[in-house]
Subunit: 300 residues, 2 copies
C-alpha cells in the first residue's frame, strides 16, 4: 500500500466514523448530557482505535457490506470508551487538565458533575452500540465483542492501569512496572481494538495470535511515544497540556530510560509489530502496518 | 407464598449474591482499586435489584441448574451498575455525601480519584459478568442482556435521569417532569433487573409485557418511598444522610405532592404492580409480589 492510498483510506474511514459517532451520540439526551457527550467525543482526536479496528477487520476480509457495518459499530464503541476515559482522566481529582484536543476539557466547559455523567453514559453507550437489535452483528459476535471491550476497559485493563498511574505519582517505577502500567492503561484498549476488528471476519487461530502480538506492540509503542512527545513538544502542538508528567512527578519512559533509549524502544516495538503482521500471513494487513508506522512517527 | 417462606428464599438468594459478588470483584485488582471496588459493593445494601432479577427468573421457570447460574450473573451485573452509580453519585461534584450503607462513602475512604475509577471499573465489570466465556449464558442471551443493561444505565436511563436531577436543583418540577426523571434515574435499572431475569426463561410476549409494567410500577414506587423516607427518617435509620433533598432544594414527591398524597401514590403504584403480575398469568410470581410489598413498606 502506498502512503497516498493509505491516506485516502484513512480519510474515508475517519469520515465514516465521525458520521457514525454523530448518529450514535444523541444531542437530545436530557438536561445537557447529550451536549457534554458530543463535545467530549465528536470533532477531535486521532481516532487511532477506530482505525485499528477497521484496518484489522479489512485484514481478515471483513471489509464490505454487513461486515463493514459491524466494524463500524466496533470502531464507535472503542472510541467511546477512549473518549470517556479522557473526560474522567482530565477531571480535577485525576490529572486536573484544562486542555484536550485543543479545546477546554469537558469539565471546564460543562462542570464536573456533567463531565462525570457524560463519561459514565459514554461507557454504557459503547456497550449499547455493540449490541444492536438488528442482526447486523450476529448475537454470538456481539457477546464476544462486549467481553473483549469490558475486559480491556475494566480493572485488569484501562481502569486498573489508571489506578497504578495514580499510585505511581512521586514514586520511582522500574521499566517492568512502567510497562505493566501502560499495557493496562493504554495497551489493553488498543489491542482490543485490533482483536475486535479481527473478530469480524475469518482468521486462523495463528493469525489472531499474531494480531494480538501486533496490538500489544503498538499499544506499548503508543505510550512510549506519548511520553517522548510530552517531554519534547509544546501544548500547542499536542492540543493538550505538555510537560504534565514531569510537573506531577510521574515516572515515564523518558525519565526511566532516557530520551534516546525511549526513542530506540519505540522503534523496536514498531519492528515487533511489523514482524507480528508478517507472521499473521494476512494478505490485506498493509493498513495495520501503516498504522504502526504512524503510531511511532507521529508528532502530536 | 407465606411471608416466612419469602424471608427464607430472600435470605438464601442474598447469600448467593453476596458470594458471587465476592468472587467477581477481585481484591487483587492493582494499586488498591480492588479494595475500593469491594468496599463499594460488598457487605451492604438491600440488594433489591438482584432479588428482582432472581425472582423474575423464578417466575418464568428459570430457577434451577444452569438457568439459576445465568440469573446469578444478572443479579451481580445489575448490582454492580447500581453500586457504581452510588459511588459516583456520592462524590463531592455530585451529591457530596459522606455516609452510605452506614459507612463512610468510597471517596471519603479511598479518595476521589480512586472512587471514580472504582465506579468506572465496576460498570465495565458488570458487562464482563454478563459475558462469561463458558456457555452457561448462551451467546444470544448474553447479547440481549448487555443491550438491556446498557440502555438502562446510559443516557436514556440512569445517567440521563441523574443529569435531569442535577439540573433540577433549586428549580420547581411538576409531577410529570419528576416522574420522567425518576423513571430514568431509578426506574430504568429496576425495570431492567426484572426484564433481565425474565429473559432467562420462557415467557410469552404478554407475560413479558406485564413484567415490564410491573417493573415500571415498582421502579417508580421505590423512588416515591425514597423521597418519603428522606423526609421522615433519620440518618441512623437510613444508613445515609437524611434530609439531603430538602437541604439541596431538590424537588421530590413529598415537596410536589405533599406527604399524604405521596404515600397514597406509593400505595397505588404497589397495586399497579400486583395487577401487572396478575395479568402476567405466571404461576410462580409470588416472590415478585412480595418484593413489591417490600419496596413500599420498607422503613430504610
Amino acid at each position: 500500500m502506498k502512503r497516498e492510498d493509505f491516506d485516502d483510506w484513512s480519510r474515508a474511514r475517519l469520515a465514516e466514523v465521525e458520521a457514525a459517532l454523530d448518529r450514535w451520540v444523541p444531542a437530545q439526551a436530557p438536561a445537557g448530557l447529550g451536549d457534554a457527550m458530543r463535545y467530549g467525543v465528536l470533532d477531535g482526536g486521532k481516532r487511532l482505535r477506530p482505525l485499528l479496528a477497521l484496518a484489522a477487520a479489512e485484514a481478515v476480509g471483513a471489509d464490505g457490506g454487513e461486515a463493514a457495518l459491524r466494524a463500524a459499530c466496533e470502531a464507535c464503541a472503542v472510541e467511546l470508551i477512549h473518549a470517556y476515559s479522557l473526560i474522567h482522566d482530565d477531571m480535577p481529582c485525576m490529572d486536573d487538565d484544562v486542555l484536550r484536543r485543543g479545546k477546554p476539557t469537558v469539565h471546564v466547559r460543562y462542570g464536573q458533575a456533567q463531565a462525570m455523567l457524560a463519561g459514565d453514559a459514554m461507557q454504557a453507550l459503547a456497550f449499547e452500540v455493540l449490541t444492536p437489535e438488528s442482526d447486523v452483528v450476529p448475537a454470538a459476535l456481539q457477546a464476544g465483542l462486549c467481553r473483549l471491550l469490558a475486559r480491556a476497559a475494566g480493572q485488569d485493563g484501562m481502569a486498573g492501569g489508571q489506578a497504578i498511574d495514580l499510585a505511581s505519582i512521586g514514586r520511582p517505577l522500574d521499566e517492568r512496572a512502567l510497562c505493566d502500567m501502560h499495557r493496562r492503561k493504554t495497551g489493553a484498549l488498543l489491542q482490543a481494538s485490533v482483536l475486535m476488528g479481527a473478530a469480524c471476519g475469518d482468521a486462523s487461530e495463528a493469525a489472531r495470535a499474531a494480531l494480538a502480538d501486533y496490538g500489544a506492540a503498538i499499544g506499548l509503542a503508543f505510550q512510549v511515544v506519548d511520553d517522548i512527545l510530552d517531554a519534547t513538544q509544546g501544548s500547542d502542538q499536542l492540543g493538550k497540556t505538555a510537560g504534565k508528567d514531569a510537573e506531577r512527578d510521574k515516572p515515564t519512559y523518558v525519565t526511566v530510560l532516557g530520551l534516546a533509549s525511549a526513542q530506540r524502544h519505540a522503534q523496536a516495538l514498531c519492528e515487533q509489530a511489523h514482524a507480528a503482521l508478517a507472521r499473521s500471513r494476512l494478505h490485506k494487513a498493509a493498513g495495520l502496518g501503516m498504522l504502526a508506522d504512524k503510531v511511532v512517527q507521529r508528532d502530536s
